[in-house]
Amino acid sequence: MTGYLDELRKALRDVPARRRRRILDEAEDHLRSAVEAGASESEAAGAFGPPTLIARRWLDLLAVVAARRAVWIAGVPVAAWGLLFMVTKPPAGPAGVVGIFAVQIAAVCGAVAGIRLLRHLAATALPAGTLRYLNRTTACALVASLVGAASVISVHPLAGVLVAGACAVALVIVAGAFRRLTALAALADEPAPDDALQDIRALIGRLPELGFDPRRHQWRFAAIVALGAGVVAAAGHAFLDDGGSLMIGPSALAAGAVIVAIEGGAVLASYAALGRFLGLVQRPR
């Protein structure tokens, strides 16, 4: 029995010490109970299962807990960066452009991670592909928020440093979730994970009718999103620039057209660069 428990202890080396103690205590109690019921020590150990299999099950469980916790924790600094961006006049020059990109990337990554989390909120187990997706999108939202917060340090030193620091701490937690996942073996035979559109469909039942399949015509879908984002950005700019009056004149329309082109182009470029990484682009099934 001692030999088996030693093997199990070795197999559980990636499990936190406190949890490992509890697992080993329960395993020892179980084996003793089996022996008291008439089994031999080797029979009891055999029925309990191979230590590597038991460890795999525990790592599965811990990876789910770590990924979920990372998304919840990351939500705070990402939201803080969003708020900071909204109340801050962007600095002039490249730092301002970085901030504008960073807030949008953080918003998209945070949204797809949040939607995936909500979709599987009641699930007690999740496939490794889903966990990888959660960790990846959460990390991406945090990196974008960290870069964004750093870009406004020149205008808001204290808030910028605080938000960037919070992002860095949350990134360490996400790194822990990645480590849990890496500790899992034999992930290669996992089925392909769902994409963001499937998450939305699972949550709201059906997607708005677009007249085409977004998964089959991904670039058409991206163009619609880009145009929508451009119009929203142009309207927001006109509203803020005119002190809330939203006057429509030739110069405002020209400025709006430029903003739609820049914002739309940026969305399309981001889609091309990050779409597959974030599960927004996937081959038709």
């Binding site: 509890r22 395993a27 179980h30 109970s33 525990w58 789910v64 007690t124």
Partner: protein, 104 residues
């Protein structure tokens, strides 16, 4: 029955066993074996992560107790666990009814 076939149903089976009263891990596995007439045999150690998973989800609660000088972790169903079991029962019954109709 192979452990693979039990995958996806194990949580509901564990909740059903615990619905009869609190029990420690070994007793839960024994009850599972007895109530299934030995059909449900799986590596016993894999039941513990499932019990912890149910505990994380708030469906089961656990605490250490001392029995004949030995510390044992005892699991008990929570109110949420009871509700989840009821939902699982209803889903399973409608699923098996549909399969029965198709299979004839």
């Amino acid at each position: 029955m192979r452990a693979e076939a039990l995958k996806g149903h194990l949580d509901a089976l564990l909740l059903a066993v615990l619905a009869t009263g609190p029990a420690h891990g070994y007793a839960v596995i024994e009850a599972l074996r007895e109530r299934s007439d030995g059909a449900f045999t799986l590596p016993e150690g894999t039941v513990y992560p499932a019990l912890h998973r149910l505990e994380n989800a708030g469906l089961v609660t656990s605490s250490w107790s001392a029995e004949s000088g030995r510390r044992r972790r005892v699991y008990a169903l929570t109110r949420r666990g009871r509700a989840a079991l009821e939902r699982e029962r209803q889903e399973w019954q409608s699923f098996t009814r549909a399969v029965d109709v198709v299979l004839g």
